[in-house]
């Protein structure tokens, strides 16, 4: 397939996708500065970054099924960027929680981390994404060889943990977390199905 050195339509598409995925972050900042985010901007940012993190994880998991569907490796060329966007939004989510929400109250954060299952799930997801982000470079891919793929299967666990985090934190029987759970179930189910069918 086309080497990255060549300037192709995929390169243009990458720029477009990059800008599209930056846009929510810009929109969040604009909403907070303008006051449109409402009187509790910390809550607003926490929800928005968390939601974006989840969306990026789901989007990233859609690339492999797209590759099957289109019988093309082009979707895979967006995997690193989308994965890193997932990491970016998750890190922002975590930073907003620790710095703005908890105001670096270590005792309170520790209490959350040990006592509350949804915080544990969220933290597990974040921690699992760290090695994936670190090993996302071409050089690391080469260095790790076959192990790279096995390592990056951790994204399945990270995604499950992220969805659990959302399900467990929602107040009342809200529908959105379950929508993410359903999407994730389909995305992971497709992989299992394919594996099972191929034996």
């Amino acid at each position: 397939m086309g080497s990255s050195a060549r300037w192709t339509w995929v390169s243009w598409l990458k720029i477009v996708v990059f800008l599209l995925l930056c846009a929510p972050a810009v929109a969040m900042v604009v909403a907070v500065v303008s006051g449109r985010a409402g009187p509790n901007p910390i809550e607003f940012l926490t929800h928005e970054t968390g939601e974006m993190g989840l969306r990026m994880l789901m989007l990233g998991l859609m690339l492999t099924p797209m590759r099957w569907w289109f019988k093309s490796t082009v979707p895979i060329r967006f995997r690193r960027m989308i994965g890193l966007f997932a990491f970016f939004y998750v890190i922002m989510h975590f930073a907003i929680y620790t710095v703005l929400d908890q105001q670096l109250d270590i005792a309170s954060i520790t209490e959350d981390l040990f006592k509350r299952t949804y915080i544990i799930a969220g933290f597990v997801s974040l921690v699992l994404l760290v090695p994936l982000a670190i090993t996302s470079t071409k050089a690391m891919m080469r260095r790790l060889g076959k192990r790279w793929l096995s390592l990056h299967k951790l994204v399945y666990v990270a995604s499950i943990a992220a969805v659990l985090h959302y399900i467990w934190l929602a107040k009342g029987d809200q529908i959105e977390p379950l929508v993410y759970a359903a999407i994730l179930a389909v995305l992971l189910g497709m992989r299992l199905w394919r594996k099972f069918r191929r034996g």
Partner: protein, 321 residues
């Protein structure tokens, strides 16, 4: 101006009966002892305002900055009008508050369905500035206009079996949030009778000197400042006196997370978050400063322990949360 407001504007010429008078005195003393207020207690400070009735300043006020009217009327939990905080104001138009009536039933000698005019008529309207602490760990400071809940309840002559008071929110209108089964409609809340009769328990028909907006629970809502906000039920259509503990919506939805009492208590965490601190939504809405507004300590019974602490003197509040 709404008709019922005019009606309510006709002030009762009755002389305050002695019990009420005594209670007020007691309250004033308690308030003074608690150092709650700087306001002069008994002087009726009537002013003309959009409520269309004189509003007496009461001795209930708190130190510190008020929440802006904009914040208090655009950031709401009122699930019948949607689950996002911004939904209720957007969907406020779907709630029709005229005509409005309230059904009183159960263990009392004067049950019946009363029009809002009848409900409001005898009550003098006063202003009380109360802290509001949401179970979600944010808080506001709001000037409410209304009257003591106990003064209303006494008119229906609860009998000796009336151990609790149950309240219901309007549910016979097709409100946009009710399409979701997020809660088992109608929204229900309840108080123990001694809590309901406590002078601090308040029925509000206005806020900031204005008619209470739909998103804040028009035309009439409860304000129980020592309990988490969801106890202060909005848009009330039914009040029932019961001899058994009434079912309450959040308790039905998640009994291990939301108790019947739901008193503000920094010592008793919500299973999913600490209740030790709160974010005060008292600054101006928007701007970067709100990002760095510091969290403040939450006080037992939301700082009203001197007034209502005795209601829970012999109770294990970790068990009866």
């Amino acid at each position: 101006m709404r008709d019922w407001m005019k009606m309510a504007g006709i002030r009762s010429s009755e002389i305050t009966d002695e019990t009420v008078f005594r209670q007020r005195r007691h309250l004033i003393q308690a308030a003074a002892a608690a150092g709650i207020t700087g306001a002069i207690a008994s002087e009726a400070h009537a002013k003309s305002n959009p409520l269309g009735m004189p509003v007496k300043k009461s001795d209930y006020t708190v130190d510190g900055e008020l929440t802006s009217e904009e914040t208090a009327t655009t950031y709401n939990n009122f699930y019948e009008l949607g689950t996002d905080k911004g939904d209720p104001v957007k969907n406020a138009k779907f709630l029709k508050t005229e005509p409005w009536s309230v059904t009183i039933d159960g263990e009392c000698d004067a049950p019946g369905t009363y029009t809002l005019e009848d409900i409001l008529k005898p009550h003098d309207i006063e202003e009380r500035v109360y802290r509001l602490r949401c179970v979600e760990a944010w808080s506001m400071v709001i000037p409410w206009n209304g009257f003591a809940l106990g003064d209303l309840l006494k008119r229906f002559k609860p009998n000796s079996n009336a151990k609790y008071v149950a309240f219901e929110t309007v549910s016979d209108q097709k409100l946009p949030g009710m399409r979701s089964r997020v809660l088992d409609w109608p929204y229900r809340e309840g108080l123990r009778i001694d809590e309901a009769m406590h002078p601090l328990a308040f029925m509000a028909i206005g806020m900031y000197g204005n008619v209470i907006p739909n998103q804040n629970g028009a035309p009439m809502r409860l304000v129980v400042p020592w309990k988490y906000g969801f106890k202060s039920i909005k848009s009330i259509v039914r009040i029932s006196f019961t001899d058994e503990l009434p079912a309450t919506s959040w308790n039905m939805s998640a009994p291990h997370e939301y108790g019947f009492f739901s008193n503000v208590n920094p010592e008793v965490s919500h299973p999913r978050w600490s209740q030790a601190k709160e974010r005060k939504l008292t600054g101006s809405a928007g701007g970067l400063s709100a990002l760095f507004a510091s969290k403040t300590e939450t006080f037992y019974l939301n700082g009203y322990a001197d007034e209502v602490g005795s209601l829970y003197a012999d109770m294990d509040l970790k068990k009866f949360f």
